[in-house]
Amino acid sequence: MDARLPLTLDVITSAEAGTLPGLFLRRCERTPDGEGYRQHDAASGTWKSYRWREMSAHAARWRASLAREGLAPGERVAVLLGNSVEWVCFDQAAQSLGLVLVPLYTTDSPENIAYILGDCAARLLLVGGVGQWRVLVPLHARFPQLSRVLCLSRSANVPVTFGVEVRFTADWLLADAEPVSMRVADPHGLATIVYTSGTTGRPKGAMLSHRNILANAEAVTRIVPAYLEDVFLSFLPLSHAFERTTGYYLPIMAGSCVAYARSIQDLPEDLLAIRPTVLVSVPRIYERVHAKLQQQLADKGFPARVLFGWTEAIGWRRFEAMQGRGRKPGTGAELVWAVLRHLVADKVLSRLGGRLRLAVSGGAPLHPKISHCFLALGLPLLQGYGLTEAAPVVTGNREEDNVPESVGAPLSGVELKIGEKDELLVKGPNVMLGYWSRPEETRKAFDAQGWLHTGDQARIDDRGRVYIMGRLKEILVMSTGEKVAPNDIEMAITQDPLFDQAMVVGEGKPYIAALLVLNAAAWREVAAVFALDPDAPASLGQQRVRDRVLEKLHELLRSFPGHAQVRAVRLSLEPWTIENGLITPTMKLKRSEIELQFAAAIRDLYAGHAIPV
C-alpha cells in the first residue's frame, strides 16, 4: 500500500459502541456512504459493493422479519452459513433483538452440529441450502427446541421436518417492514456462544458478552491500527472467534471494508481481484504461499535461488535494523535491496494482491522460517496468540516491536501470569463469562483468583513478550522421563511438501514415532525413484521407503534434541479429515481419536524394538 495515501483513523471505541449492534449502528451513522462490504455475485460474475447505509437498511429488514418469530431476548439462534453479507445481516438482526447468536462451522459433521443445536437449545437455524438441513433431519430428536429453519437458497427437496417449519428467506424477508426498534442490551450480557471444537470430548460453548468482544477489538486496534481506507479479505470462517473479532467487528470499528472471498480454493484469484490492505489468517495460508514459492525456486534453478537468498538476507537485516536489533545495511546493500525488492520481493507479494500493508497470523503457531521469509521480503507479518475463551486475542506483536519467534506482548487491559507447570493465565475485560451449561468445566477453567487457565505453557521475557512452549496436555513424557512437545515436531515435519499431515506418539515409550499422511503427488515422485507402484498398498510398507522418510525427518528435525528424533514411522495416503472425525473444523488433530483408530499400527511401531541409540 502506498504510504503516501491518506489513512484516516476513525475508530469507534468500545465505550461509544456499548454493544455489538450499537457498534454497527454508530458506524452506519458515521460513514453512511463508505464501502462496508464486497461480495461476489455468482449470477453476474462481478463483485458487488455494499455501503454502510445499504447494510443498515438490509439489517433492519432482517430485524423486522426476525422479530415476527416471537423469540424472547436471551434465546439462541444458530447460523450455518459461509462468510457473507447475509451472515452479517442475520447476526446484526439477532443481536439487535437481544438474541444470542450461535455460529456453526459449515464443514462440521451433522452429529456435532446436532449436538451444539441441542446443547444451546437453539430455537431457529439459518442455513445456506436445504441439503444442510436434510443431513440434520435424522438427528432432530437431539434438538427438540428448534422450531424454525430459514434457508437462503430455494430448492424443491424439502424433507418433512416433524415440527420444524422450513422457510426460504426470499419469502420470509418482509419487503416493506414496519421498522422494529432495537432492543437495548446489557453490554455485559451474553451476546454469543462460540463453541470450541474440542480436540478431546464434546465441544464447549464459550459465552462471550458484548463487552468481551468490543474490548478485545478495540485493544487490537491499538496494536494493529486499521483505517477507513483499509480493505480486509475475509476467508477464515466467521464461526471462529479470531475471524469474528478481528475480521468482522474490528473492521466495523475502524470503518474498513470487508470483502468476502469466494472460497479457500479461489483465494489466489480473489487476492488479485480484491488486493486487500490487511490480511488476517491462520499460518496454513502463509505456509502454502511459502511452499509454492520454494517449489518455484526449485524449478527455476540456481541463479533464481541465489537472487532470492540475497533478497532474504538483506531484507532480514533491514527488518532487524528497523526493530532496533543490529546495524542497518550500508548504502551499497540498500541499492541492491532497491533492485531486489523490485525483481524479487514485490513479485512474491504481488501474489497476495500487492497492496498488503499488514498481515496478521493467529490460531496456531507460525513457523519462524515462514515469518522470517515474509518479513525479509518487506511484508509486516505479525503473529499473535489467543483463545476463544478470551474473545480471543491475548497477545500480539506490533509492527514496531516484532519478534517472530514470540507471540508478542499482551494487549492493553490484558493481564498475564505464569502459573503452575508454566501455564499461561489470563485476566481481562475480554475473558469469557463461562461455558454454557457446563458449571464443572467453567470451574476448572478459572482458578479461585479468577485467572483464566489457557492450557498452554509459556514463558515471558523481560520485555513482556510471550513465548508459547506447548500445550499443557500435549506434552509427551517418554519412558525415559524426557519431555517432548509434539506440536513443534509435527510443524517441522509438515514443512516438507512430502508430508501433508503428521502426528507424533511416544507417551510412556522409549522413543518418538510418527504417523504420517503423505502428499499424493509428492509420493508418486518418491515411488518413481524407487521404481515402486505408487498405487500398490505394499509400496508404502517397503523398508527402503521408510528409511528414506526417516532420513528426511532427521534432516527436518536436525535442530531438535536427540530424544525428540523420530525412530519409526507409519505411512499412509488417507488423509485425516473433519468428516472422518480425526481433525477439528479448525484443522487441529484430534489426538485421542487418531490414537484410537490407529492403535494397532502404533503398537507395531514399538513392537520388539530395543531402545535404539
Binding site: 451433522p110 452429529e111 441439503g131 430428536a141 427438540p144 427446541q145 422450531s147 415440527g163 454454557w436 451449561s437
Partner: protein, 175 residues
C-alpha cells in the same frame, strides 16, 4: 379435533417380559411427551442448573400431540412405573408432498433400546399407514447409523444412498 382411535391401542410384551402399551398419542400426553424429551438429553442435570430445560417449545409440543390420526399419526410406547405412565419411545409419520407417501421418524429412549420396542412401534405405524391408503413409507437415516439401517432392512426397507449427500441415506418401504 379428531376422534381418538381407541381401536389402535395394543398391549404387548417386550423381549424381557416387561408389559408395554403401544397406542396413538393423545392431546393430553403433553406432560408425558415433555418428560420423554427431557430424558433423552445425556446432560439433563446441567440443564436444570442453567434454568433452561431441554424441552419442546409450546408450538412444537402441540404439533406433536394434537394430531389428526390420518395425515399425521404417532404411536407412543409406554410402561408403568410406580403407578405412573412413562413414555419410552415414539414413532410417527407425516404425509409427504406426494399423496401416497409418508415420511416417518422413530425415537427410543437409550435405556430401552434393544428391548423390541422399536419393532412394535414400527409395525403399528406401518399397519396404520397401509390402512390409511399410503403406498410408501420413507425416511432419512444417518449413513453411520448402522443399527438403524440394519433394523430398517429387517423391516423390509430398501436403502438408497443419495448422490452428493454422503452423510444421509434415504430408506423406502412399499406398504
Amino acid at each position: 379435533m379428531a376422534d381418538y382411535p381407541y381401536h389402535l391401542v395394543q398391549h404387548r410384551v417386550l423381549f424381557d417380559g416387561t408389559p408395554v402399551t403401544i397406542r396413538p398419542i393423545h392431546q393430553e400426553d403433553s406432560g408425558m411427551e415433555q418428560e420423554f424429551v427431557r430424558h433423552l438429553s445425556p446432560d439433563s442435570r446441567y440443564y436444570r442448573f442453567m434454568g433452561t430445560l431441554l424441552e419442546l417449545p409450546p408450538g412444537k409440543l402441540k404439533y406433536f400431540t394434537d394430531i389428526d390420526y390420518e395425515r399425521h399419526m404417532a404411536f407412543v410406547a409406554t410402561i408403568t412405573q410406580e403407578g405412573k405412565e412413562i413414555e419410552i419411545g415414539v414413532a410417527r409419520y407425516v404425509a409427504a408432498e406426494k399423496s401416497d407417501s409418508c415420511e416417518f421418524a422413530i425415537t427410543v429412549d437409550d435405556a430401552w433400546q434393544g428391548t423390541g420396542v422399536a419393532g412394535l412401534l414400527m409395525i403399528a405405524l406401518q399397519e396404520t399407514a397401509r390402512q390409511r391408503g399410503f403406498r410408501i413409507m420413507e425416511g432419512l437415516v444417518l449413513a453411520t447409523n448402522r443399527q438403524m439401517l440394519k433394523f430398517a432392512r429387517q423391516l423390509g426397507f430398501k436403502i438408497h444412498h443419495e448422490p452428493g449427500e454422503g452423510d444421509t441415506v434415504h430408506i423406502e418401504l412399499q406398504l
